[in-house]
């Protein structure tokens, strides 16, 4: 009946609980944590300077973020990872080729691209969705192979039909034989940076702004909860927010004071990031609507969905159409940043890289969130930037790092598909 040991027991229980929680967190986020570590080690080994690395990373996140987000909705609808985003990318590319051909440049060109790409992507998405409804249970392998098949059709059209069947006269685009498109098309002064350069803003100042926003949100939460007397529940969040806000703010001011720091010269393409942000909001909003609920119901159990009056086939096609259209837009963003269109190669690895990024962020075949997509994009491209240099410094060959990163792409997809199938098998045994 003594109170003391009881308290001790309580603290011990709490400690065990904390440990358990920590363990669970580690296990659930194993992949992400592993890649944070690999990325950090690679960064140190590569010997890159922070400004150079950040510049490259900002560029790549702006370039690829949209494409990775395009994968979320099919996952929600239980169709797994949509490797057929490649078809969306093709639609985007077709639109860009037409736009260049008609000579519409800059932001007007981008607008025209979007207008042209959308109907093509809707058509492709519709056909893909129909096919995936015929191969239920094997959607991912089907979408993967479909990507390659479509690539064959694409090459047939642009290498053989253009100039011979489809009339097209354009010295810049068509090969000197008059048949087939050139292998690379330069977008410089046409569409290059058409979105990115609309409004660029200092990176370090943006960090300061983010820091200030964090602190003000923390303050707001503190005041609001203090009034309602529920300070305890929000304590952790307030602390974390204000701490990170202060760290960001102090770091950015310190950097700005040191005028020789190269970080002061970094700019970010604000409009591109705003577009990515809008897509995040739109996706988050969509999941809360009736349609989002339908996606989730179909994702959990198609039979149940059918019984409760949802046409699951239609919902599945819709999910793929949305994903394909987003991929087409994402690819336009991607190419305006790249600055060169490699007619027969730009779209090829888009799906694979986007999927690997999503998975590295901690997503699985059945669950993907916006946060995972963004985190994954950052981590994946960190590894992409550092691995050739790390390979060169470690073993004297940059090629080695490139093979390593290919291994990472394939390996992470393989492992997470395997884990998913294994879990499913264990569940069905129970």
């Amino acid at each position: 009946m003594e109170p003391r040991p009881n308290i001790e027991e309580n603290t011990q229980n709490k400690r065990i609980e904390m440990l358990e929680k920590g363990k669970k967190f580690l296990i659930n986020n194993m992949v992400t944590i592993l890649f944070v570590i690999i990325g950090y080690i690679g960064f140190v080994l590569s010997g890159l300077s922070l400004p150079f690395f950040l510049n490259d990373l900002i560029n790549r996140v702006a370039r690829n973020g949209f494409l990775v987000l395009a994968l979320i909705i099919p996952v929600l609808a239980g169709m797994g990872l949509n490797f057929a985003v490649v078809l969306g990318a093709m639609a985007g590319q077709m639109a860009i080729i037409m736009t260049i051909h008609w000579g519409v440049f800059n932001w007007q060109g981008i607008l025209l691209c979007v207008l042209l790409a959308t109907p093509i992507a809707i058509l492709f998405g519709f056909l893909t969705g129909k096919l995936l409804n015929k191969t239920k249970g094997q959607e991912m392998i089907t979408s993967l192979i479909l990507g390659w098949f479509a690539n064959g059709v694409y090459q047939f059209i642009f290498l053989i039909l253009v100039g011979s069947v489809i009339p097209m006269k354009n010295e810049e685009l068509v090969l000197s034989t008059g048949v087939g498109l050139r292998v690379t098309v330069d977008l410089d002064k046409k569409l290059r940076y058409a979105i990115d350069s609309l409004f660029r803003f200092s990176f370090i100042k943006s960090v300061l702004i983010v820091g200030i926003v964090f602190i003000s949100v923390a303050l707001y939460m503190y005041i609001k909860n203090n009034k309602q007397g529920q300070l305890d529940s929000a304590k952790g969040k307030v602390m974390a927010l204000s701490a990170s806000g202060i760290v960001l703010g102090v770091w950015s001011i310190m950097t700005m004071l040191n005028s020789r720091n190269m970080l002061n010269n970094l700019n970010i393409p604000v409009v591109t990031f705003v577009i990515i942000g809008l897509l995040c909001f739109a996706t988050a909003f969509l999941t809360k609507t009736k349609l989002g609920q339908d996606f989730r119901t179909v994702g959990q159990d198609q039979h149940l969905a059918n019984v409760s009056g949802i046409d699951s086939n239609k919902i599945r096609v819709l999910a793929i159409v949305i994903s394909t259209v987003l991929a087409a837009w994402g690819h336009i963003i991607y190419l305006q940043n790249m600055g060169t269109l490699s007619t027969y190669g730009s779209h090829e690895n888009i799906g694979m890289f986007a999927i690997a990024a999503l998975l590295i962020g901690g997503a699985t075949v059945t669950k993907a969130t916006i946060g995972q997509a963004l985190l994954g994009t950052v981590l994946f491209h960190t590894i992409f930037i550092v691995s050739p240099l790390a390979g060169r410094n470690l073993l004297g060959d940059a090629q080695l790092g490139e093979y390593f990163r290919a291994f990472v792409v394939y390996g992470v997809i393989g492992v997470s598909l395997g884990m998913h199938a294994w879990k499913k098998q264990m569940q069905s045994k129970k």
Binding site: L131, I141, F149, T177, F407, Y410, G418
Partner: protein, 346 residues
Amino acid sequence: MIERFQSFYKKAGLPRIIIAVFFFILTVTSSIIGIPFGGLMTDVIVRVAMNVVLVLAMVPGILSGIGPNFGLPLGILAGLLGAIISIEMELVGRSAFIGAILMAIPLAAIVGWGYGWLLNKVKGSEMMVATYVGFSAVSLMSIGWMVLPIKNPEMAWAMGKGIRTTISLEGRFRHLLNNLWHFNIGAFRVPTGLILFGLLMCFIMWLVLRSKTGIAMKTVGDNPKFAVASGLNVDKYRIIGTILSSILGAIGIIVYAQSFGFLQLYQAPMFMGFHAVAAVLIGGANVRNATITHVLIGTFLFQGLLVVALPVANNLLEQGSLAEITRMLVSNGIILYALTQVVGGE
């Protein structure tokens, strides 16, 4: 007559008929535009015979229930490693070829065992997992090729580390089978050894499928629930099927390389699995059933089509990529068709 035609149409399926007709038209076109028929047929026969073992590797996989072995690169890598060890040991001629095979078989068996174990853990998603296991193995082995301690100047880069991307088999076992007992009928050159070796492998497979193990393996693949009820260890026979498939992949790549004249390392094995899958599917197999006849017909149609398409395309069009495009369309198209049939049949 019409009924007969309809039953044939149903049995053969639309894509197969299209491919066969396309092949026929190409062959006719080739003789009309004056491509020497004898030489063309020699190329067809050589290409079919050098690929047939790789395609045969699909049979044990499909029959044991793991489906088309998209992870064939694993077996291929074992075969390539065997060939490299054989060259590093300074073997020449027949002993080099046999040595490479003997070295590759245990390697492929070990790899196949591990791979089969993995496939047992992921039942239902074998095709997708296998594809990525194959891809990542090829990338990982690319690192392997760069760090393997090979000293032989035939294989090592003159500067830096690692093995060359392609290794010539000249003076080792290049064309060993192609030139064995070969004879000419006019311009048509018959590579007897190569054909006999392919048929020998088919015959061995035929025997294996009729052995007790083979029948058990087929039962497991055909109906796992029935197999469990009759006391068969499903997982065990699936592993046996995978091992057999990997071993055939290893032998297949050695046969392929002796005819091609080069060992192709690094990224080259990446898509070889898909071509083998496509070939057996064109022959009439599906993801649950495959026979040796399917292998022979499929390899003939697929490889034959590609061989004939190349000179015809070069003659009709200036672009050299039509043959490559045909291959992409045919191989991926037939795999897609087979995938739609899986669910459609259930």
